[in-house]
Amino acid sequence: MTEPLLRVEELRTHFFTRAGVVKAVDGVSFALERGRILGLVGESGSGKSVTGFSILGLVDPPGRIAGGRILFKGRDLAALPEREMRKLRGAEIATIFQDPAMTLNPVLRIDTQMIEAVVAHAGAGEETARGRALAALRKVGIPAPEERLRAYPHQLSGGMRQRVAIAIALMNEPDLIVADEPTTALDVTIQGQILYEVQRLCRETGTALIWITHDLAVVAAIADEIAVMYAGRIVEYGAAAEVLDRPRHPYTAGLLASVPSRNRKGAPLAQIPGMTPSLLDPPPGCLFRTRCARASAACAADPPPAGGAHAFRCHHPLEAA
């Protein structure tokens, strides 16, 4: 078996606050092959964004990677010094953030922000970089790219800005893109266009993608694999169709049931009772047990990994249909 592009092993990213240790990511493992799309799903506070930032080496103090390995092309990113990490960021591992209105610097022109991303890595001259910026804008379907290059971010629409962000991510032909809720701030129609573009571009260039979202409908549309995160852990992980059609973990089932659907029109919307638990010094055992209808005394102990290719962590899994 060849080594996958990215393998995360038992990643622990903790925040050492005055009140105690917040275990935002607590033992997360997954692997990603070239050209594949992984949907990382969870509620706010489940640790999905922190997982993404850990891979990018952008966890700010008081947080830091407290354990585990992030093997990217055989190198352990968790142990890489910042100087080496900087060379990887934007070049081999690119990123797309949630809100394009916040991620592009409001006082710098689009061309400045695109060109600097190339110059920082390729050692290319400004003219070469400008050419690549133009090509990237064309690739993501932006009309009149020459004009857009001279614009400031506020002169573009939200969808256009996110396309610019995607173009920036693609410019250095990365092996991996970490996309943190990139369509959450956009209209549904724009979201559809962006999803389509990203999927197409990843297939064309063989770029692997980690798509972080709380929206199951989005991952259903593009992901090859899905990892469901809850309270800093992956509770269910497998091929997208498997996880969506035959969820084994009660949390995944609950998430799927709470997606509004036309088929259940008129019926009250299902919801998962309770709130996500605090990750400040969490107790051992399954952290979902306080909200879970199937919980028993056994749940106070950590559930062992089970299920093989369609993995889940639960003492009382749903029947495999």
């Binding site: 990887l88 960021r89 916040m102 610097n105 006082v107 600097e116 400031y152 506020h154």
Partner: protein
């Protein structure tokens, strides 16, 4: 942009009118300059003669319209005390003040922005804490006291810099200024440092606050995610954003510094405009006071104009609205 500038200038003419009236009548109410100008032994006839010579025997509104009429022709009146045109008196003093203010701004900006940015970038370092403690002193120590201390240390004890007065002027491209002579610069240094201290503290605090705020923003994280060196993130992405509040405050400071650096100019016997206005108020030299304040209004208007234009350069989201 052109419309904006023209509109601004029209507005400033209104301000000039209002200012001239307020100051003219204000000084009239404060006291009678004749009392100060003639000696106590002078008799009633002598007083009347002086009042008539200065035009002070007429009703105040007649005096004001006479002044307006002359002012529209470019004549702001003659100083009661020196007998030369008030505007000439002011212009003579202007270069001294300008060079003082310019050097103090160079010190405040040149030191304040890097120090403040460092304090914001490494807020927990010993260096940052020292800088912030120093900035509190810059705020709270009274200017006159710091001025005296500077003279004590550098002029009296160490004897490496002159205690006061303006040094010889040098000439460069036809401009006469002590900026262009070494001895002149030596004379300039202490008063400029004294004048700069408060602004330096202000700039440090603004730069630090801006730095800390901006570093947390998404676009900084995104810039790092693009793999940019921290140097570029800080000096391009952050610096341009934190300059906006700094320019605002410095714009305001610049005007008041040119007009009213009275304390520093007095402590260092600097022959600038601030000293002129204090002496003129002392002698109720109305033409000088009125002309001075009108000049100050013009300076403020120009500075605000420059600041507004600078905003639109720094922040493309700001558009110069013609209605402003």
């Amino acid at each position: 942009m052109t419309v904006f500038v023209i509109r601004r200038l029209m507005q400033s003419i209104l301000v000039l009118f209002a200012m001239s009236a307020i100051v003219f009548f204000g000084v009239y109410v404060v006291g009678d300059p004749v009392e100060i100008l003639v000696s106590h032994e002078a008799d009633e006839a002598e007083r009347a003669r002086v009042a008539a010579a200065l035009g002070l025997d007429r009703p105040v509104w007649v005096q004001y319209f006479a002044f307006l009429e002359n002012a529209l022709g470019g004549d702001l009146g003659k100083s009661f005390v020196f007998g030369i045109p008030a505007i000439q008196l002011i212009l003579q003093r202007m270069p001294a003040t300008f060079e003082l203010v310019i050097v103090s701004f160079v010190i405040a900006v040149g030191l304040g922005i890097p120090l403040g940015m460092y304090a914001g970038y490494r807020p927990n370092s010993a260096g940052a804490k020292t800088i912030m403690a120093g900035s509190i002193l810059g705020f709270s120590l009274p200017t006159f006291w710091v001025g005296l201390m500077l003279i004590m240390i550098f002029a009296v004890e160490m004897q490496i810099l002159p205690a006061g007065g303006r040094g010889p002027v040098g000439s460069f491209l036809g401009m006469q200024s002590s900026l262009f002579s070494w001895t002149g610069l030596g004379h300039l240094f202490l008063p400029a440092l004294n004048l700069a201290l408060f602004k330096l503290a202000l700039v440090i605090r603004l730069a630090r606050a801006g730095m800390r705020e901006t570093l947390l923003l998404d676009y900084v994280k995104y810039a790092r995610a693009k793999g940019l060196a921290m140097r570029r993130v800080v000096f391009v992405h952050v610096l341009k954003n934190i300059m906006i509040p700094i320019v605002t405050v410095l714009g305001l400071e610049l005007g008041s510094q040119i007009a009213f650096s009275v304390v520093t100019e007095t402590v260092f016997a600097w022959p600038g405009m601030g000293k002129l206005i204090i002496e003129s108020i002392d002698k109720l030299d109305r033409p000088v006071i009125v002309a001075y304040l009108l000049v100050i209004v013009v300076i403020f208007v120009l500075i605000n104009l420059v600041v507004d234009v600078l905003y639109s350069v720094l922040d493309p989201r700001v558009r110069l609205a013609a209605k402003a």
